[in-house]
Symmetry: C2
Subunit: 244 residues, 2 copies
DNA sequence: AAGTGGTCTAGACCACCTA
DNA sequence: AGGTGGTCTAGACCACTTA
């Protein structure tokens, strides 16, 4: 508590910031133990209670988890589905089947007006578009476009994306950026032609309703980072979201 | 801290429970000020910090809100849409137009197997079905069925529902029960005939995709209380959920 | 037995609001 | 000036895990 208090910002918030920086720097990998609350308190010149408050907020944010009597650990990076999964309609407590991810490609485009505004970019700002397909027991069930500000993620390599657990995992590993979902929109739409092709809906069947998801994500400080658009086929599996 | 500690349950949790009971009893209406942290601490024989922790959890749960320098207040009951609203697709930061609620009726039925399991009831347990229609600028946009355990809400009166802000508001006012959403499922479906009629989708148009929402809600202790099924027309407005 | 997270206290000060 | 929420500390004890 001695010196560098910039004031205007409570001590626990400074501790939290500092820990987030050290985590971004890769100091602790998933499931690594952090120093104990007392060690951190010593090291940072704060009391155990203050360190504890900072850690608690990081636990709430999903960056850490605790085990009584054991320690505090770095949480694994969430996947591209976050708190959502595909489940049998009506059964909320089923264990979700793991979806298989397929990286389809990365391309560049310019932001539309809506997207530029949502991501707080200028009109026509360059974006990276990352396209992924999700399969369930081999059958395509969802198609993803993640749109990221190209300048923020300059140097993004398609090979990183091909061999990873998803977009969020890559952002964390390669850029030290942890992302959280800000808000989501849902609509029911007839599946557009291009998406129908990629999802393997072809032939005479023609008109299939699809769940259309729009998601806005931000970094831990609230700066918008990602606009995602996802088409889900929900005639077999329902898009399920668990709440706090 | 003197006497009635049942142990096995930390003091702040007991304080929280006690405050929840007093709120259910109607001791404070929406926007009423609670006693100050110090008064509560005195009254309950705990320290200010302990009371503060209990209050903080209730704030997180949405039952209270705080204003620095002023006090702690009872939060208004959330509406049937919770953190969700209908917005123009792609615009996340729009202010939502208020939806107009229309109570369509209350009936009784027996639980299907799925619903009985989700609500932790026996098979064929009696349920109340409360049907509501939501209009936007006069046009129907959503249709709701709320299914409640009939035995828990014995004495429910349709007149209460007609003149209220919704199902959750009625449960709070008449039964002292505060509800929170546990999880939600989304699907895209072709609008079934009966629902199409109630939503005013008629004539030759025929095949309209609808967003189908399934929601499981519980009381503050986690006991399941409500199964809700909602059909939304999303060709104009998207179902928008804001996160933590 | 030692180490860790989890709870609780008493007292102090600060920042903000109302009067 | 007085009241309220918001932060911080030092010290204590408990419950759980590991060795």
């Amino acid at each position: 508590m001695t010196a560098n208090t910039l004031k205007r910002q409570p001590l626990y918030a400074q501790v939290k910031q500092l820990l987030m920086q050290r985590m971004s720097g890769g100091e602790w990998q998933a499931h690594d133990a952090l120093p104990s609350e007392w060690e951190l308190a010593d090291e940072l010149g704060a009391s155990q209670g203050t360190v504890r408050k900072a850690l608690s907020e990081l636990v709430d944010a999903g960056l850490l988890y605790r085990q009584q009597g054991r320690g505090t650990y770095a949480a694994p990076v969430p996947g591209d589905w976050g708190e959502a999964s595909l489940l049998t309609p009506g059964l909320f407590f089923e264990r979700p089947d793991e979806l298989v991810r397929e990286f389809l490609g990365m391309s560049r485009l310019n932001a539309s007006e809506d997207i530029a505004e949502a991501l707080q970019l200028r009109r026509l700002a360059p974006l990276l578009r990352i396209r992924q397909l999700w399969r369930w027991h081999g059958a395509p069930v969802a198609l993803d476009d993640a749109l990221l500000p190209a300048e923020t993620f300059d140097g993004m390599d398609a090979r990183w994306l091909r061999n990873s657990a998803g977009v969020y995992a890559t952002l964390q590993q390669r850029f030290g950026v942890r992302v959280k979902v800000v808000c989501e929109q849902f609509r029911a739409e007839m599946l557009p032609r291009e998406e129908a092709g990629l999802l393997g809906v072809t032939g005479m069947v023609a008109d299939v309703p699809a769940l259309c998801l729009l998601r806005l994500s931000a970094d831990m400080d609230g700066r918008p980072l990602e606009w995602r658009q996802r088409y889900c086929l929900t005639h077999q599996l329902a898009y399920t979201v668990k709440h706090g």
